[in-house]
């Protein structure tokens, strides 16, 4: 198909691009699903912190010659559960402590890559993501995590909603809120782990927040948000990837810009009603 002198199918001749589109689209949907819970819990700073922590783990595992998914995965899940527990106890200054520790992990990752890594290229790839680096193992990883997350969210839907809306009452009514929260943190860590190679560390928290905020403006029902948000995420991933090829821009930046453009359109279209709905989202 030719549009404005561009052959829209041209990049699909390349295997790397086909893989990249697939991963970006699935990653957008995955971030969209979990983003709903991240946004409604006012946890976006945790998504931000967690991606920085995972970066440290990724760098350390690269330097030690460990497999990325093993090294960064263990570190990411461990720090995710720990961060979740600290945040849950609502200790004064917990946000600051989480910020300091995850930033330190990020800084340590940078320093390790400077000292022992293969120079700038790999750092840039982890910070901003890279399509060229997408391997079959990435496609498998993001697909497996997406399937697992969807199954868990469907099966534990009411518990997750209850624990998000009203944790004290959920606890009293027999929901194991601690486990629900730990599960959410594990899913979040795994999501960041498998999407980071395409989206990069720096912009992943935006992909968790923007599609969910767009969906919140369109509806007053969490059930509907859980359909709209992954659709917006997937569309951002797909469109962003294609545009990045033609405009020769950074993939992650383009994906986020597409998501931000959808936000702007919906913000304008839903008017005051949409604005009231997202005004209640904390920390977005």
């Amino acid at each position: 198909m030719i549009l404005l002198g561009l052959d829209l199918f041209e990049p699909y001749h390349f295997a790397f691009f086909r893989n990249g589109v697939l991963v970006a689209t699935i990653a957008g949907a995955l971030c969209g699903v979990l983003g709903v819970f991240v946004v409604l819990r006012g946890m976006s700073y945790i998504g931000h912190g967690l991606s920085h922590a995972v970066f440290g783990g990724a760098a350390a595992s690269a330097v030690m010659g460990l497999n990325y998914f093993v090294g960064a995965g263990v570190w990411g899940v461990w720090s995710g559960v720990l961060i979740g527990r600290i945040a849950r106890r609502r200790i004064i200054g917990a946000d600051a402590a989480i910020g300091v520790v995850t930033t330190a992990s990020f800084a340590l990752g940078l320093a390790l890559l400077n000292r022992y890594g293969q120079a700038k290229k790999s750092i840039e790839a982890v910070l901003f993501g890279s399509v060229l680096g997408v391997k079959t193992s990435d496609i498998i990883a993001v697909t497996v995590v997406t399937v697992v997350v969807v199954i868990i969210v469907v099966m534990a839907y009411r518990k997750m909603v209850f624990a998000t809306f009203d944790p004290d009452v959920a606890e009293v009514t027999g929901v194991q809120v601690q486990w629900v929260e730990a599960l959410l943190m594990v899913m979040l860590s795994l999501t960041i782990l498998v999407t980071m190679r395409v989206i990069g560390t720096l912009l992943i928290s935006a992909l968790l927040v923007i599609p969910a905020s767009v969906s919140r403006m369109t509806t007053n029902s969490i059930a509907r948000m859980l359909w709209v948000s992954p659709a917006v995420g997937a569309a951002s991933g797909f469109i962003g990837m294609n545009m990045a090829y033609h405009l020769d821009t950074s993939v992650s930046a383009t994906i986020i810009l597409v998501a931000a453009a959808m936000f702007a359109v919906v913000y304008g279209a839903t008017g005051v009603r949409g604005r009231v709905r997202i005004s209640a989202l904390h920390h977005v």
Binding site: D168, V169, V172, T173, R216, S221, R277
Partner: protein
Amino acid sequence: MTKLVECRHLTCAYGNAVVVKDVDLAITSGEFVGVVGPSGSGKTTLLKAILKSIAPTHGHIDHSPGLRLAYVPQVETVDWNFPVTVTEVVVMTQSQGRWWPRITNAERSATEQMLERLGLGGLGNRHIRELSGGQQQRVFIARALFHQPDLLVLDEPTSGVDVRTRHDLMHLLADLNEGGMSILLTTHDLNGLAAHLPRLVCLNTTVIADGAPNEVLTPAVLEQTYGAPMEVLIHGGMPVVLEHGADEISRRLSRRSAS
């Protein structure tokens, strides 16, 4: 009569600040108990300890085996912007052994019956923010009742509602209690609510008095509970609490407007 809940030497603290101290309290099946005290006296903390949602620093809380509890939080603590409808809130408690989240037809009709019973008929698809204060309060009572509790626990159920709503709410709670449900609530509304209950616990960090309203609503107990002198009149056999010196304030203010 079985004891549903028993606290022995219960002490709770946030960090170093002890807010509930050495409380002994038992609630037996069929009772209707009100906890009264000024704001900050530890009422909510006591409820949360009884519900085992916070751990005591000393003492014990025992629940009778298999006790089903339901909690109606203070409306001020609810996130009214959360994207859920009335029906979604009511069915939230039904989460055991479910593989598909959709609300079943059976649940939908049970919810409609419950909403009807609480005077919320036809409001099932409303977003929770699109309700009046009294309706919001009743949605959370509906959710609690949907869980079929033995003991219903409510935190300040009449705070911020008008006289008529308070009246309806008390009739609802009285009906439930007559139907065999045990109820524990907190309030700072002495005349509107507490004086009508069969048993009151006056709390100010520790239990100052525990008994029927005409036993515990005395100037001595109230002064110890509220830290301010109060007067008690008996009206139709029921105690009515008056703030000491209220007439003095009105005299001063009317003198100002006269001059």
